[in-house]
Subunit: 436 residues, 2 copies
């Protein structure tokens, strides 16, 4: 939980650094509002019937609710972040499914702007967050939905199969090409020669030079949509170079992003090395951040179909939590679960009153302080409590101190004690805390 | 949303100051796990049936999930806070009910400790938060569930009616005594003379002297339970005096707290004056924080019935949001929705590349910066954007600046501009931001 909080703090502060405002939307939507927006993913939506028999769905992601919000409130321009829970069923096939509840962190830019400027910022944000979290080396795969569709068209995929073939291609990060090919041919009825043509493309990845190469590709260069996508990617790489992050980005024709609502550039960040326990298998974590452009989604919720172009990203914080926890286990790192700075203690009986007065003074000065909830705790118990919870300072008041108008401050680490005047207590503690 | 965030920050930092760790529990529970724990309140639970027909309830509060967590994980001692959403139906009678989704902030101390020390800390926390939020003068009503039950017993309420009469009494903050009396007599079948005896008690409130007075009360002093409650309240007032908050606390025999799970001290904070618009009716807000001791709830979830005593509080942040918003409207206060410190701007065409390089540098230095997503925005548009969103500084780069290796920093408020060397930009902005 403490680790989660630190990770979320870093993510949110990056979103704020890029000028986003915080936003929240309700956890439920009417099911009919959602189903068609997700394509094949909608099988994992968690549906519920309320007391009145109304069919609801729990928030499956934060993107669709955002688009709906923009449409309903006729907002034409907005940069917002949203940290919230989403719910998904564990499997589309089991009816009595357990659901997974997890946290998502989204950043989106809505509005009609000049091409690729907000898109480049989204990639910059992903880099800043992944660098900030120190998860190790990473790569962001980039593609464009129009290039995917163009590739399908020139390879000879029937248009009715675009969406389902797209979700097959999307599995290439977890499955080998031959298995994906098998799925497309045997299960989805794609002609083998079409699958092989796709295979030639989806095994390509590289930098801006691959973009140039695809401009020259005899098939792809005949497709208007694909050319538009390539043109945008070229511009995007120019901006990414100015942002100093181009070497982190890989144009990857296998990236398809299964969700139906993407219309332009799409991206997904993967970690290149995952910290593991000595001897253990490398932990496969899949993508840790992803997103893309979805220019049509808002229009689907608008009664008149008015569009608001959007681009955004989602940080896979649950996966990141797991990675960080795994790493902490591997390296035996410990994290304090509280932030307490001072324990108010006494070596003598009948000093509850003095402890209560003293701790109230510390709280009122904004100092994080605890005391044991016992009338007469043993000094050793109090010191052990500091050691086991990581509290760095102890303030000790006893008979002698009370008589002399002083208190003792003890450093738990060094075991050094100094007596200071009672009235200087707050100032002295603040001084010590600011030094450490 | 920004206001909400600031309020939540203040609440959470107070919880941390008192040594609590953050915790989260799932949003759903099986309905059967919850129903009996809330007494009459359970009519407002939001029930849902999932795809498999399992009956679920959405989290109605954060206390019951906490108790369940302690029991399931056999945790005997814990100080935690939880900020999360809860859901309630708007009315227990309408079947096709709309639900309300709202945020709750809870702090609880679980464990076997010496009497009234954690309880006093809960009241101290409520005072710190209400003082910190500057909501105006407030009062915390305190009572003890054993005094309520003892009062019912000596007044002649049949034991089977304790719970329902308790929830009538609980309405005394919103309804006049005669209406509550009517409900108890006409609707709940209480004998009129019993109601009148209750009436004599529930109109009493005062400080520690009222506790002393009740010790002498000819009826109440005959009841063992009530005497235990009074004994604890006396001790509580002693600790509250040491904390310097006794004058904020009122022993109030009309405080009953409708929920079934309370077993000891109960409390509720109310604002004494609410800021209103000139001429408008005072806004009635009810309680803004409440809580109490619930020593039996964990045992209800434990297979062997092992008890873990608990005491806690909940901050009514939704009500507080409303009050703060109302106050801001009244005084015409504005809040920025973003925290952006710098806009990167240009007066010339074809300066997108320079802006992109510059802003990446600011982001990488942790400075909150924005730019307009246009290739060639007008300078006036850029300056207007700062004024309308409250961005205090503009960094301007143009042809002349580029040639001289400088950039201009403009203060939006004073309209003053100074040219500084390009390489000193980050340091200069950080200096200005730390001064303001």
């Amino acid at each position: 939980m403490v680790v989660r909080e630190k990770i979320l703090d870093l993510v949110v502060s990056c979103f704020k650094r890029h000028g986003a405002m915080g936003m929240d939307t309700p956890a439920f939507e009417l099911k009919e509002m959602l189903t068609e927006k997700y394509g094949e993913g909608s099988g994992l939506m968690y549906d519920l019937k309320d007391q009145g028999g109304e069919l609801l769905s729990l928030r499956y992601d934060l993107t669709v609710p955002f688009a709906r919000y923009l449409a309903m409130n006729k907002v034409k321009k907005m940069k917002r972040y949203h940290v919230g829970k989403v719910w998904r069923r564990e499997s589309p096939t089991i009816v009595q499914g357990r659901y997974r509840e997890f946290c998502q962190c989204d950043f989106d830019i809505a509005g009609q702007f000049d091409p690729m400027i907000p898109d480049a910022e989204c990639l910059k944000i992903m880099c800043e967050i992944l660098n900030g979290l120190q998860l190790g080396d990473f790569l962001i795969k980039v593609n464009d939905r129009r290039i995917v569709d163009g590739m399908f068209a020139v390879c000879g995929v029937p248009e009715s199969k675009f969406s389902t073939i797209c979700s097959s291609i999307d599995k290439l990060d977890k499955m080998a090409w031959k298995d994906v090919r098998h799925e497309m041919v045997a299960k989805k009825g794609l002609a083998p020669e079409v699958a092989d043509r796709i295979g030639d493309y989806v095994q390509c990845h590289g930098g801006v030079s691959l973009v140039e190469q695809m401009f020259q590709d005899p098939r792809l260069s005949q497709n208007k949509q694909a050319l538009e996508g390539l043109g945008d990617l070229k511009l995007l790489f120019e901006y990414l170079t100015l942002f100093g992050i181009a070497e982190k980005i890989s144009f990857d024709l296998s990236l398809a992003r299964g969700l139906d609502y993407y219309t332009g550039v799409i991206y997904e960040a993967v970690l290149l090395h995952t910290p593991t326990q000595a001897g253990a298998e490398p932990l496969s974590v899949g993508s840790v951040a992803a997103g893309g452009r979805y220019d049509g989604l808002v229009g689907m919720f608008d009664p008149k179909g008015h569009k608001v172009p959007c681009v955004g990203l989602s940080i896979g914080v649950e996966r990141i939590f797991n990675i960080v926890e795994q790493r902490m286990k591997t390296f035996g790192e410990k994290v304090r679960t509280t932030e307490t700075q001072v324990l108010v203690a006494t070596p003598h009986k009948n000093f509850l009153q003095e402890r209560l007065k003293l701790i109230a003074e510390l709280w009122d000065a904004g100092i994080k302080a605890e005391m044991l909830y016992k009338n007469n705790p043993k000094l050793l118990t109090q010191l052990h409590y500091c050691e086991s919870t990581g509290i760095p300072l102890v303030v000790i008041v006893g008979e002698q101190e009370l008589k002399e108008g002083v208190v003792k401050i003890r450093s738990v680490a060094s075991r050094e004690e100094v007596a200071i005047k009672r009235e200087n207590l707050v100032a002295e503690i603040q001084k010590r805390l600011s030094e450490s």
